[in-house]
Point group: D2
Chain length 337, copies 4
């Protein structure tokens, strides 16, 4: 941490500040310029609140020189994390593909889709039981019944399941049956929920908030990891910008960036990220070329009648074609799908 002092800060005050800094266990290096003096704080500054210095009236500026996350930081764990779940893995050589409907709607729907995406090569079945919807008048998901149907589909097909949790109140049920618990974009900074998830061993799929920086996203991963659960899968799903053609702007470069900053696996959700079904194929291809560890794709047996986000869902046939096209791309990256 660097503290830039104001020009003409009195020596006495500078000395007091140095004493204060030493008092919290840090070393101080002093660099005196003709106009400005600069203090370099040496030691473990991650938990030091810069505000205490910023408020000092002889201080002009406080700057951090280190990333504020530790457990998620690749600096402290150079090799990539591979999350293992139910015989599948995420972050390894094979790309993890999670496919299924936005919402679980009926037994027939979810089982039919599960079989179809499995046949096309998906490793995981995704399906929403509890749906975050902007309007209280929109379909809110089937809730616990939806979860039951998803569990049924898991039994029928053997596929591990991924589903979003919105509320710690139903956590027990998730822990028992859901293989990967998804934290949606709107919950990325639901810190109470993150703390609860930190107590588990179940892998967490942590979507990036639609207005969160990469650093904030990694800090939310740090919340869960700090609680003891290091099985985190990050998921880029688009950020909010001024562009209105797509629902969100997929921040594609976030993939290689996160891979460099953190050891955690990162996948991409091109369905929510764009909101447009015909963009799923090109966006998926790009994600693979950028080094993503997997994809989360919405597939519906009848997108025209989907109760939620039908605009972005693919038919099983379209999904199968994409999977075939992704193969050679994955191979170019030294991966398989």
């Amino acid at each position: 941490m660097i503290i830039v002092l104001k020009p003409n800060a009195p020596e006495k005050r500078i000395d007091e500040l140095i004493t204060e800094i030493k008092g919290i266990g840090l070393r101080v290096d002093v660099s005196r310029g003709a106009e400005q003096t600069i203090l370099g704080l040496i030691g473990d500054t991650i938990s030091v609140n810069e505000v205490r210095f910023e408020k000092n009236d002889i201080v002009a500026k406080v700057m951090r020189v280190q990333e504020p996350y530790k457990k998620a930081n690749r600096l402290f764990k150079p090799e990539g994390t591979v999350v293992r779940v139910a015989g599948e893995s995420i972050g390894g050589k094979r790309l993890a593909v999670m496919a299924g409907p936005c919402s679980v709607e009926s037994e027939r729907q979810i089982i039919e889709i599960a079989r179809q995406v499995r046949k096309a090569g998906a490793g995981f079945l995704r399906g929403g039981a509890f749906k975050p919807r902007t309007s209280p008048y929109s379909f809110q998901g089937l809730g616990e019944e939806g979860l039951e149907l998803l569990i049924l589909a898991k039994k029928e097909t053997g596929m591990p399941i991924v589903s979003e949790i919105m509320d710690a109140a139903v956590l027990d049920k998730f822990v028992e049956h859901v293989d990967i618990i998804q934290v949606g974009a709107r919950s990325m900074q639901n810190f109470s929920l993150l703390k609860e998830l930190g107590k588990l061993k179940v892998p967490i799929l942590l979507k990036r908030g639609f207005a969160s920086t990469i650093e904030e996203w990694l800090m939310s991963a740090e919340y869960v990891m700090n609680g003891g659960n290091e099985n985190i899968i990050l998921c880029e799903r688009g950020i909010r910008t001024f562009e209105t053609y797509t629902r969100n702007t997929l921040d594609m470069c976030a993939i290689p960036i996160v891979k460099r900053l953190s050891h955690l696996p990162v996948i991409v959700d091109p369905s929510h990220g764009t909101g447009i079904s015909w963009l799923v194929e090109p966006a998926s291809k790009a994600a693979v070329s950028l080094g993503a560890d997997g994809l989360m794709i919405e597939v519906h047996n009848c997108p025209d009648e989907a109760l939620c986000d039908g605009n972005q869902a693919l038919t099983p046939e379209q999904f199968e074609i994409i999977m075939q096209k992704l193969g050679p791309l994955a191979e170019l990256e030294g991966r398989s799908i």
Copy 2:
């Protein structure tokens, strides 16, 4: 709702679509152009999901002509809502000023600040017990102990209290003692929480999400109101933009806009909205001139030592000066403070 059909949509398909629309209880007016046919849907379309039409391959575009919120809409309740709580009111002639520390830190701190802000004219005491912090290594608030101290300060001073809830798990305690339950920016779309709050009668202070549109904000109010709780106070607190000088960009014009679109009272939080203490005075003055129904201001007896957001907190003396300056401005708006 307007449905624009694609050029050359076959008559038979158009007829089927019209039959489908009538089947859900709406009237249809058909406007046939040389190139495009347009359908006007007449009736209660708020709960109709446009996706079902967008997915129809003869449809080019679906457009809504009405706001998607009803209970929060001024159209259906032209006079402004006044929220009454513990002898005070928000939305009436007198501006509601909520002041206090970002975090409750100790008995002495909160009681001292409460007395000072009360003396300076604040009507409500704000104080955080549960704090949403980006980093797990930052101070997270005193939790239930903080709430107890806040309740103590309420007893000591008689001031109604405002505090943020992050988790429905502690709702009972809030309901019993907290006069206004605050929903923070990061929780604005925590729909599970909003539904719980909809079952109460306690007034809810609903902060705008930092990346939420005005319409989404009003939709979140609609969630609570749809549950039965119409005591909502909206609070503008800045949005995320590309500008980095301030922590957020206060969307000042949102005040008159929300007042026009909705009957709910709206206040402004210039402390979080800017993150800079010397901006609180000018931003507060602007808010009053723009018709805000009140202000939420951070005051700390010792901002330099605040455990949280000290950079934006005012001293009680600074707060008092602002209160005095706001008086004549409020008067110009036909209000008092």
Copy 3:
């Protein structure tokens, strides 16, 4: 400027870097930590390109500690600049109000509006002759003919005129007749144009680019000042955000911020900033309360028939009412209007 070195940077390389820095005339202070060494560069670093250091493979990070603008910086000129033009001044006690139509449309129109806004108290007549329009199919302004009509209105009423330049090719005509040359938001980083304007003495009204930071805006002022023309008036006119209700989001807090960072006067354009005529009054009031040195307001004798931006224009009667309301607010700020 601060250079943070990577852990384990070899001593030899550090010495070479220090020699390089000294070679460009700067002093270096070295702060050696257990893990990281930090170099403090002392001297005139404004013209030093940090990239040369960032590319050095022993360097982890380069950080600037000073603002990159000098001539526009209040640090080097504490008292505010007052721009004087044709007997009027901007930045002084009296607020500068520039009013008139978006586009000059006819002799009768511009003279009639000029008389009306003058009567209502405006000090300057604004009118567009060359209009930047997103579509080539929209009205592009009357061009030189429009400028002639504006000059005519100036002769008739004695009001100094403000008009936007889009192209240095017509600069001579502007220099001869236009009292304040406006640089529009889309031209804020037209550096060729800024350099030409720097050679003049005519005051320049520099609008903020709709996606420019406050620092970039001040850097554009620096371009003109660096050329020798220090008569700059800054104008906040809204930034582009995700919110779509208003055309732009007025960054109201930019007013007190710019007043603190720079000595240049700053005015606000609530008409373009919001794009909605009924927001002009509240936004103007807020601007005055925030310390703006003036306003630029669109007034049209017949907004319904305006060839450009009629949605945001006020009638002369509405303008007059606003001017009356602003009086007491200006007085509270120790200003007049």
Copy 4:
């Protein structure tokens, strides 16, 4: 175009409005609801200004149902445009790669780089002579001398050259010698310049403004095409968002979107789009997978000493490696490089 009337609009006023619309040569279809009446305007509405209707006090809302661009619209020219220049083409089967330094710095530098990028497979040499820089204290390019050096490199290597124009004043020189004239992001809405370029036959590389929507970008292409020059190459180069890790956020999905909306070729500039040299490879791969027609990449023989943007430049060796990796990806898209 759709006009939604306010509830209870008087019949007489509705009739007057219909008469007005017919008067400008459009047909009107009227759809009367219980609460609201809607008018459908049939005919060529692209040049109709919606404001004239929005200002009518019986009108609630005006909505466009067609894109506002014609000449750039794929609807009116389904097959893709191939721009041909100096024996090379852009938009055809072979990807167009433009490589070279941000700034031309010396004869030796530009000729050396030209030879190297040509050897690695680049079809075009890019080099900046006139540089748009945020700070007046940064290197502004060699100007006309730089252009001469670029022309020299063209003679030496036979490569067609691409260079940015900032000012119509030097247009003649560009027309005579530059094969593709680049319009930079900051000039995308320099409408005076666009009109001048519309009079030429020289191909124009039109970069997307960093805060421009896709529609505004296509409207700027429309400006040039409307003047008669249909040789436009679009170039995505990143947009401004809240994320600060990269200089801009590359809007990767804009590639397939623009390909669908328009018949014009589109390339990507991953160097400016990210500002980070190690992101150029993954971003280039993604661009190819997304269907881009080419790439513009910064290559410098000595990035550490580059006078401009050295942080994002590749060495010729790094560039060669990327070119090799792109080959198989292009092949998967049915393209070559």
